[in-house]
């Protein structure tokens, strides 16, 4: 077979063949190495990319949980509306791209065909609104307000409406049971922002563009629990976006229900009484300014004394939270935030800061005892106190002779506290303080929780202010440039003030210390802080973080996660001091500044404790403060520019107590009328099907003028002549 002579196999050719072979196999090795690099070393990265490539998510929104009152009455729930949606994926499969279907749909919905088509088109840089901004795989809502008739027409003829669904869909609602609108406490929802969508994109609960997120109040604090988990259907799509299969499916988990400690009935009473008190205050003439009180804002807080749970919390001016549902209009939003309407969005119970006036006095009392003064010692209560020619009046302008600290609380004697504050100031070194001054009066205020958040489960809480030496220094550093620019020697009062502040605003002056000792000057507190303090005096000294959320109950009622109130400290006083202060506050209600508001109160059965406060605000009318407690409840109320503590706020607080305990003005208790003689201990039951057995709430019927008249026997004590409490 091999006739051909074997020539040609030279050494050169052999070597060349080996070279060829080496070259060939190095190429193959290169490929193998690169293959290993892509598939094994970086494989994960590429599989993730492949996943992003071909999986499209369609999100089914979870039904948001309800916010319930302590007995299960919904304060925020969902109502079902008929929402007609169009599926682009389905429409695009039709030859005319769904034009015919949408035209027919427009006919049924009494809309213009063009409007319907505009609603389901996808947004891009060239498309003006309306257009769909969300995922093209998501059913696009055409209308939120279809009638049953229209929905039936669509659902009965599915062949005429491929890709169109008419489904009942849950929409948020704030029903305000019994008139308890609870607006600022509940908060509101608003559409999710682009940033939030991006952030949540790869989490297991991604946002829909149409999603709503809690922005304020309970809706925000408990947003995660209320929101539940959106269901996600993952579709596999091809390079043209056509669905070629369905991948993993996570069903939606409906949001849990939030049970609050709020009692809708008490809330209704509190809101009504706060508003009524403010209307009444506006009828009173302010003797200082000669014009009626403005009563421009107010707040009331009802706490369970022993736990710090919030039974009612109202802020005025208020608004209807339903304006947020379905997107707030620009006009409504402007109204809610405008200065003329005095920012109804603000929750003044936790965000309203003002000088506390005399309800502050329990703090210097405790501070004085801590500084070594005897509670039952003799303290002179002259009608005025002078320091170097400057006269600080006892606002009642009435001397009481030598009295105990307890009596000083009862009669709210300013001069007793002036002297104590002044002495401590001197002890700290006065204008030129010793190193690390004790500042006992200020330290005690911090220990009472002032100048810090109470930790209430609501967003946006304000801290208030304890104007100690450190604060003075900081405040001066921040403002001195401005003061030195505007200050003028011998100018107007403001100019003069700025001039003085520029020179020595960093120094704690005697006047500052004296003003502070009665809760005036630069002192700022919020109603919730004062309620926390008075509840602590009532409960034996525990400063509770006020809590509204009581439990989170899953939609099927199976999982109950109770929210236990936390404490942020103990009152800095001995049990003896506390009980003595308690006695004094009882005295305020029985024979002191608040006694005229508690005529006929069954003091033996339900011991009432109170402290009134009337705070001066430069350039404004006085702030009315009223802090009270019984064994079970603590109520603090304030009205800005409302007048005196007992005068403006007294009747409202009394009426709330009457409603709680079912009392009339004569002190007769009717257990049937009592809304909540003891704090609600049980949690409402949520049935497996999600329904909640809630009692009916009837609107509050305020007492008639005859009913609210003080009992004849007790006789009305003469109302205080002055604005003192």
């Amino acid at each position: 077979m091999t006739n051909i002579p074997e020539t040609g196999r030279t050494h050169r050719v052999q070597i060349r063949l080996v070279i060829l072979q080496v070259l060939v196999f190095s190429l193959l090795l290169t490929l193998g190495g690169r293959l290993w690099y892509l598939q094994i070393r970086n494989g994960q990265e590429y599989s993730d990319e492949a996943k992003n490539n071909h999986v499209q998510q369609v999100v089914q929104p979870a039904v948001r949980g309800s916010i319930l009152d302590a007995r299960g009455v919904p304060l925020a729930d969902n109502e079902t509306r008929l929402v007609v949606s169009a599926s682009r994926t389905e429409l695009m499969k039709i030859k005319d791209k769904g034009k015919g279907v949408l035209t027919r749909l427009a006919g049924v919905l009494d809309m213009k065909p063009q409007d319907v088509m505009d609603k389901v088109r996808l947004c891009d840089s060239k498309t003006p609104q309306p257009c769909w901004n969300g995922s093209p795989y998501q059913p696009i809502p055409v209308t939120l307000e279809a009638t049953t008739q229209q929905a039936l027409q669509i659902r009965e003829r599915p062949e005429d409406f491929p890709g169109i669904t008419a489904e009942p869909t849950a929409v948020r609602r704030y029903p305000a049971p019994g008139g308890a609108n609870t607006g600022q406490v509940l908060g509101y929802l608003s559409p999710v922002t682009d940033d939030e969508i991006v952030k949540a994109k790869n989490t297991n609960s991604p946002f829909l563009r149409s999603d709503q997120v809690g922005r304020f109040g309970l809706e925000r604090t408990y947003d995660k629990a209320l929101r539940g988990k959106s269901g996600v259907t993952r579709y596999e799509v091809d390079n043209l976006g056509r669905v070629i299969g369905q991948a993993a499916n996570d069903p939606a988990v409906p949001g849990a229900n939030l049970v609050t400690s709020i009692d809708a009935r008490v809330q209704g009473v509190a809101e009504y009484e706060l508003n009524a008190a403010m209307i009444e205050a506006r009828k009173q003439i302010d003797r200082n300014t000669g014009v009626p009180y403005k009563a421009d804002a107010g707040a009331i807080v009802v706490l369970e004394s022993k736990t710090g749970r919030v039974v009612a919390m109202a802020s005025n001016p208020t608004y209807d939270p339903n304006v947020w549902v379905g997107g707030i209009s620009g006009k409504d939003y402007a109204k809610l935030t405008a200065k003329e309407s005095n920012v109804p969005l603000m929750n003044r119970a936790i965000q309203g800061q003002a000088a506390p006036g005399s309800i502050f006095k329990v703090i210097p009392t405790a501070a004085a005892v801590n500084a070594g003064y005897k509670f039952d010692g003799d303290y002179p209560c002259p009608s005025s106190y002078s320091i170097g020619g400057q006269v600080f009046k006892n606002f009642e302008s009435q001397g009481h002779g030598n009295i105990t600290l307890g009596r000083a609380l009862e009669v709210s004697c300013d001069t007793v506290f002036y002297a104590l504050g002044h002495q401590q100031w001197l002890k700290d070194g006065g204008l030129h303080p010793v190193k690390n001054p004790a500042q006992i009066f200020y330290k005690t205020a911090h220990q009472f929780g002032l100048g810090a958040e109470t930790g209430v489960d609501l967003p946006g809480e304000e801290k208030g202010r304890v104007p100690d030496r450190e604060w003075k220094q900081k405040f001066w550093e921040a403002n001195k440039d401005q003061w030195c620019k505007t200050g003028k020697k011998g100018g107007t009062y403001v100019e003069l003030l700025s001039y003085e502040n520029c020179l020595e605003g960093n120094l704690m002056r005697a006047g500052d210390a004296v003003n502070y000792s009665i809760g005036q000057g630069d002192t700022l507190v919020t109603p919730i802080q004062m309620a926390t303090i008075y509840a602590a005096i009532s409960n034996g000294g525990t400063l509770w973080n006020p809590t509204i959320g009581k439990a989170i109950i899953s939609a099927d009622g199976k999982n109950v996660e109770e929210i236990k109130p936390k404490s942020h400290g103990k009152l800095p006083m001995t049990e003896e001091t506390r009980s003595k202060i308690g006695e004094a506050l009882e005295g305020v209600a029985t024979r002191g500044t608040a006694a005229w508001r508690f005529g006929g109160w069954p003091q033996k059965e339900i011991p009432m404790h109170a402290k009134t406060g009337t705070a001066e605000v430069y350039g404004k009318q006085t702030t009315s403060w009223f802090a009270t407690y019984t064994e079970d409840y603590t109520i603090v109320m304030t009205i800005s520019q409302g007048g005196t503590g007992s005068g403006a706020s007294g009747p409202a607080v009394r009426n709330v107590y009457n409603a709680l305990y079912g009392l009339d003005m004569a002190g007769k208790q009717d257990p049937k009328k009592a809304l909540l003689p003891k704090p609600e201990a049980e949690l409402p039951k949520v049935q497996p099907d999600g329904s909640i057995d809630a009692p009916e709430v009837r609107p509050y019927v305020p007492p008639s003028p005859e009913e609210s008249a003080p009992p004849a026997l007790a006789g009305p004590p003469a109302p205080p002549a002055h604005r003192q409490d």
Binding site: E6, Q39, G43, N53
Partner: protein
């Protein structure tokens, strides 16, 4: 060597029936290189599965029949096998005699492509549509005729014992023989095929024992030619874009970089064992264009993983290794040169094709031998296998 001559079976073999002929110890069947045949067949069989997976959902291509490409690929493989058997039967030496005719025929075919008979697919005007869904890519056959033609010229005087190595004149002639069809293919422009042909010419010259100066000179002129082509703007825009996308795939992920990116995602996502045949999301979702032809390797990468894609490399390695063995074992330069040409062809084409899917080579429209869908390519590579087998079968027994 001597014993081989003494006991040359062909000379003394008695007359035998056809079955006996095929089963006898010295039969063609026994002398075939089975590793190369089985590897090549395995590649084609694997290819049919990959082509099937890639086209099952491509309704615009498969005319609604998910088996359309599977059946055609199998049929192409069958025709390829028949062509191989025919080539073995004819023998490479017989073919040597008809090389001028084959050469002339292939020239006519590629010139026909330039006439209105030709069709443009993917930017290259390289096809002749025959009708009935068939089309011919003559440049695939030109690769064979260049190998055969050059081998014939270069080996003639060496095999005759006149020269130890081909002289400059012969080399010159051989280069001219290759240059003519390459020039025409360049006009199509089918740059990928030209690249393969340049490498084939290099391999052929290398194995022929031509002077080092020729090899070096060809390498240099190849590089210079590439620069010249780039500078003169002979390239079409699509070709420049392909190179740009190779240099930076992130440049335009929706445009020219799309192919490269999607191919890399497909292969990368396969991991060690792949997603399983028909289960690759990139493949089912048709994210990789031209996946049944030039990008068929991505199907293997995604659905069969590193093991499956590695198997393709191993099978190609077996084919090339056996081809190298055949090249070394054959005693005549003609066979050696033909082997070398085929090795250069397969190796470079496989490297370029797989390399572009892996992102280490620029995109060029070249099929993966045996695996890619495409009749012309399939036929050409099986004819090449036939040539290798023929060289092996006719080698001296002692080797």
């Amino acid at each position: 060597m001597q014993t081989a001559n003494k006991f040359s079976v062909a000379r003394y073999a008695p007359q035998r029936g056809p079955v006996a002929k095929l089963t006898a110890r010295d039969s063609v069947l026994r002398r075939l290189d089975w590793p190369i045949l089985l590897s090549a067949f395995a590649l084609s069989a694997l290819g049919s599965l990959l082509v099937w997976s890639a086209t099952r959902n491509r309704t615009t291509l498969n005319q609604g029949d998910p088996y359309y490409f599977l059946l055609r690929h199998a049929m192409n493989t069958g025709i390829g096998l028949v062509l191989m058997i025919g080539t073995i039967a004819l023998g490479h030496r017989t073919l040597r005699g008809v090389v001028p005719i084959l050469y002339g025929l292939s020239l006519v075919l590629i010139i026909a492509v330039l006439t209105p008979l030709g069709a443009t697919i993917n930017g290259a005007h390289a096809w002749i549509v025959i009708g009935g869904g068939f089309s011919l890519q003559p440049s695939e056959f030109v690769k064979i005729t260049i190998i055969l033609g050059m081998a014939m010229l270069l080996a003639a005087r060496v095999d005759a014992g006149d020269l130890a190595h081909p002289d400059h004149r012969t080399v010159m002639k051989a280069l001219c023989l290759a240059a003519a069809p390459m020039g025409i293919v360049m006009l199509m422009p089918d740059l990928g095929s030209v690249m393969v042909m340049v490498v084939i010419v290099l391999g052929v010259l290398l194995a022929s024992g031509a002077s080092n100066r020729w090899v070096a000179g060809l390498l240099a002129s190849g590089a210079a030619g590439a620069v010249l082509i780039w500078q003169l703007g002979v390239l079409d825009e699509y070709q420049i874009n392909r190179f740009a996308a190779f240099a930076n795939p992130e440049l335009d992920p929706a445009g020219v970089g799309y192919n490269t990116n999607q191919a890399r995602i497909a292969i990368g996502s396969g991991g060690l064992t792949g997603s399983g045949l028909f289960k690759g999301s990139q493949t089912t979702g048709q994210f990789v264009p031209e996946q049944q032809t030039d990008f068929v390797f991505t199907v293997a990468g995604e659905e069969l993983g590193f093991l499956g894609a590695g198997l393709i490399l191993v099978l190609l390695g077996v084919v090339l290794w056996r081809a190298c063995v055949i090249a070394r074992e054959t005693t005549e330069l003609y066979g050696t040169v033909v082997c070398a040409g085929i090795i250069a062809w397969f190796a470079f084409q496989a490297f370029e094709n797989i390399g572009m899917t892996l992102g280490i080579m620029p995109v060029a429209g070249l099929p993966l031998p045996f695996v890619s869908y495409g009749g012309s390519s399939m036929f050409a590579v099986w004819v090449a296998i036939g040539l290798l087998q023929s060289i092996r079968v006719q080698r001296p027994l002692s080797a």
